[in-house]
């Protein structure tokens, strides 16, 4: 018997047990699809977090004053002298409330030159950046400017009532930022940006609760980190984007490993299922195999006949699973985000 005849006989046998064949193909397909969808998911989540982190730039180190410690201009000058530090950006960050917006909003006082270091590229829907003068100007994040339906809530030129602690002030909106999506450390969409000098004046502050350092190169992040730790000890909390990315990557890779383990198990289950079905097929066809042998088919031929069927099921299942897996990879994030939380 030649290969084409064997193949067509295999197909006839598979067609005879249509439902069973379809179910076995499905089992293999589900196994393959799970592997693809889950590993794509793991890959996607980790790369999206890394992408968010890299919006800040991998060369960024953030310093937070602990238990009320404020950085002074002396600190800024001193830090600028540190080996590997390219620039020091002074920040005052507070939680405030804005009338007409439910959630707490982050107020960020910064020099306009620091803005690109904070959010990456500075993109405005309308208006302009504020001027570095102690005047009540404000640039607002996208979530404040538009409500959930996308209707405008605030526009540039309009006043904004901000409640800071027990007091309220009115600021003039000069610009509206584009949507930045999720971002680490600061959330531009839920923030308002004010000239640093105005915030200092208003709070009567002589220092800054946050500093954002940019290093000259990514390689120097660790040494700058070390220098700052040596200089300030426990007075200051230090976070570097690089360190954060590393942590995220290592968590993500552990999650991937887990997901791939789960998917692998389902793949093995599919394999065992196929094996089981092939065993049953052979056992229930003993009489048929007897006839085939009496017609002169060799043991090798009979073996090939059933291996071909297993192979056909495998190929078909993998192909179906591939399509299902790719589809699922695109669908899963939608499903997950609609079930868990809605970003923005």
């Amino acid at each position: 018997m030649d290969l084409i005849d064997l193949l067509s006989l295999s197909l006839r046998q598979l067609k005879e047990r249509r439902l069973r064949t379809a179910l076995t193909v499905l089992a293999v397909a589900v196994g393959v699809a799970t592997i693809i969808a889950l590993s794509a998911q793991a890959e996607g989540v980790s790369s999206s977090i890394i992408r968010d982190l890299s919006k800040l730039g991998p060369d960024v180190v953030i310093l937070v004053g602990r238990s009320g410690y404020l950085f002074t201009d002396v600190d800024v000058t001193r830090l600028k002298e540190f080996e590997g530090v390219a620039s020091v950006n002074q920040l005052i960050i507070q939680s405030v409330r804005v009338s007409g917006v439910e959630d707490a909003i982050t107020l960020i006082g910064a020099y306009s030159s620091s803005l690109t270091n904070l959010v990456g590229e500075l993109n405005l829907v309308e208006g302009t950046t504020y001027l570095d003068v102690p005047a009540p100007q404000v640039m607002i994040g996208n979530t404040l400017a538009f409500d959930a339906n996308g209707d405008p809530r605030y526009r540039s030129g309009q006043p904004l009532l901000v409640t800071i602690g027990p007091r309220s002030i009115v600021l003039a909106i000069v610009g509206v930022l584009e949507s930045y999506g999720s971002s680490p450390i600061i959330q531009p969409d839920r923030s308002i940006f004010l000239p640093l000098d105005y915030v200092k004046l208003y709070y009567r502050m002589t220092g800054y609760n946050y500093l954002l350092l940019k290093t000259k190169s990514i390689e120097q992040v660790d040494s700058v980190y070390q220098l700052v730790t040596n200089a300030y000890g426990s007075k200051v909390g230090i976070t570097s984007v690089k360190q954060l990315s590393n942590t995220v990557s290592s968590i993500a890779s552990q999650i991937s490993l887990l997901l791939i383990g789960v998917a692998g198990t389902s793949f093995i289950a599919a394999g065992l299922g196929t094996f089981n079905i092939m065993m049953i097929s052979v056992l229930e066809r003993v009489r048929e195999i007897g006839v085939l042998k009496s017609l002169g088919m060799r043991d090798k031929g009979v073996l090939t006949l059933y291996i071909t069927q297993g192979l056909l099921i495998g190929i078909l299942g993998c192909f179906t699973g591939l399509i299902m897996g790719v589809g699922l990879s695109y669908l899963l994030p939608e499903i997950l985000s609609s079930v868990t939380w809605t970003n923005n």
Binding site: D2, D5, K15, S294
Partner: protein
Amino acid sequence: MDYLIHTENLSKFYDVGSVKYNALQGVDISVGYNELAAIVGPSGSGKSTLLHLIGGLDRPSSGIVRVEGNNLSELSEQDLADYRSKKVGFVFQFFNLIPYLSAQENLELSMSIARINKKERKTRALELLKVFGLESLAKKKPTELSGGEQQRTAIARALVNSPSLILADEPTGNLDTASSIVVMDAFRELIEKRKVSVIMVTHNHELMKYCDRIIKLRDGKLESMEIKK
């Protein structure tokens, strides 16, 4: 005298648990060319076992089966498969036909195993189905055929590769007398026209008068061999 089939001290044991069961014990028989031979005997006397050994479906525990003087035990697995494919045509009592293939495809399957090309398969299959009056049923599946039609299809299939030996295990077992006589006439005609030998197992005494040789088995041993020519 030259024999097509000749067995010498043929025995077959089956291991049933720790006990050895003698299905066949020291059987010496011969079947000539162009003969219709019957194997008879009570149930369990070893008739099917003998047929399977002659057809190379099973190997003997001891003793020899000679076909045209060649010892089957000396053939490799492959040569034995070729022997079954080209030299022998089997007809069983039950489950002869592959259920999901049509009558014609069942014949063609046998030829595809013998590596006969596709065009030849079709013409030969239709030709043989016609000989057995089955040409209008060629596209039917076995379940759509009557018992007699199935049996005739099986005999037609046994002939497709022009074997020199037909082995039939109770081919008329589930047929009425009229259909049985049709099958016997078909065998006789084959022997005359195609120069084949037929060995069949039967319980039917009526049919023995068609046979040239009666081989009687009892408890796995040869009781008698009677030649009627």
